[in-house]
Point group: C2
Chain length 204, copies 2
DNA sequence: GAGAATACATACTAGCCGGTATGTAACCTC
DNA sequence: GAGGTTACATACCGGCTAGTATGTATTCTC
């Protein structure tokens, strides 16, 4: 009896399972055996698709984590009013925040804190994700300043760094306290900050 | 020849070395052998003072990390103008932020992201540190509202959660990008937010 | 100063983990 | 359909790690 082979699917299943395993345990404590057990793939197949654990990790960052982050912010990139768009993204993200996400934290932040300081390959790839996100917000703000939906005296780069940092930080603190409420409170503070970026006297 | 024994000192040296090892590698990847090598203490001595690695980790959190955090925020607890005091703490913290701190990140945040979701003992202890910090800021804000140095319509708990979250988050993003500048930009955003909490028309 | 408790030191073990060597069956090319 | 390449499968290894068993010298108690 012939067994069908689907190399692309096998590879995809491996990086998706690895993403979850890394999300649960971090990269260094992630167990290849767990991933193999979870996917019913053998070690030979894993090492056919990836040179080593680190390369698997890089693939997870590039092929799962990166789109995961981009998808959540793409609406801000093209929005006419970036503040409205950002507030909407915050609401969306809070709605999709499951108990598991509070328990395990943001996959992006987790990996940054674990690996950025000790592995250049991770640092480069994670920094690319984070800085593209930051730049997307800064660009959106500048566009908002040009069309009058954002106050002109705000420093777009500084605000973007603050927005990204506070989102990840508030998620992290919610994880530390294992409490959704902390996330709500933090995000309400961020909403306050975003509102303060609107131009004064914009109404009537 | 008699060798002096100083059990308290031995214990102290162990938890301080463990603090650094955990800061560098995280708790789970922290190597007891490294700590023993660093301190010239033997495994027998280590296991005389601590039942296992986890108990050593708990001791590090309670006896090193907790005072480390408290010491950096105690001035806000008694300040008359909490916003001025908070801004000063931010400046102090940025001045003491070495390259190593950017590389390795905040020890508190690192441990929260690594352990809060998977070990109750860590979570309880880390949450205590974080929530005491948050409450200290919230209390200070309420005191500021009572004496007129903070605007009355601000939600003290929400703002405190946001302040703590954004500090840890901006440090985390600076680590992700391995770039001091990101920290400066984020903290300038936070300074802006803190200024917006002052009561309107407070001058002349 | 005897006896007990404390504070170590040394040597060892069991388990897990990433990685490799080798074999084999499916698939693609011509 | 032969030959080569791809996509797996199986079995094994060496290294590291937390933890333990056991021994011993110092210190405390009375």
């Amino acid at each position: 009896m012939s067994v069908k082979r689907q190399p692309d699917l096998t590879r995809q299943r491996l990086i998706e399972s690895a993403f979850e395993e890394i999300h649960r345990n971090g990269f260094r404590s992630a167990s290849l055996e767990s991933i193999l057990k979870d996917t019913n793939v053998t070690k030979g197949a894993l090492y056919h698709h990836f040179r080593n654990k680190t390369e698997l990790g890089y693939a997870v960052v590039e092929e799962v984590l990166k789109p995961w982050v981009e998808q959540r912010w793409k609406s801000v990139v093209t929005a006419e009013d970036p503040i409205d768009a950002a507030l909407q993204v915050l609401r969306d993200r809070m709605e999709e925040t499951t108990d598991e996400m509070i328990t395990l934290g943001c996959p992006l932040n987790n990996l940054c804190q674990e690996m950025a300081g000790i592995d250049e390959g991770f640092q480069k790839r994670l920094n690319q994700i984070v800085s593209e996100w930051r730049n997307a917000i800064a660009d959106a703000m500048r566009r908002g300043q040009a069309n009058g939906s954002v106050r002109a005296d705000a420093d777009a780069d500084g605000c973007a760094a603050f927005v990204v940092g506070s989102i990840e930080g508030c998620m992290g603190m919610a994880k530390a306290s294992q409490d959704h409420e902390i996330l709500y409170k933090g995000m309400s503070g961020l909403a306050l900050f975003l509102e303060s970026l609107r131009p004064p006297h914009s109404t009537h």
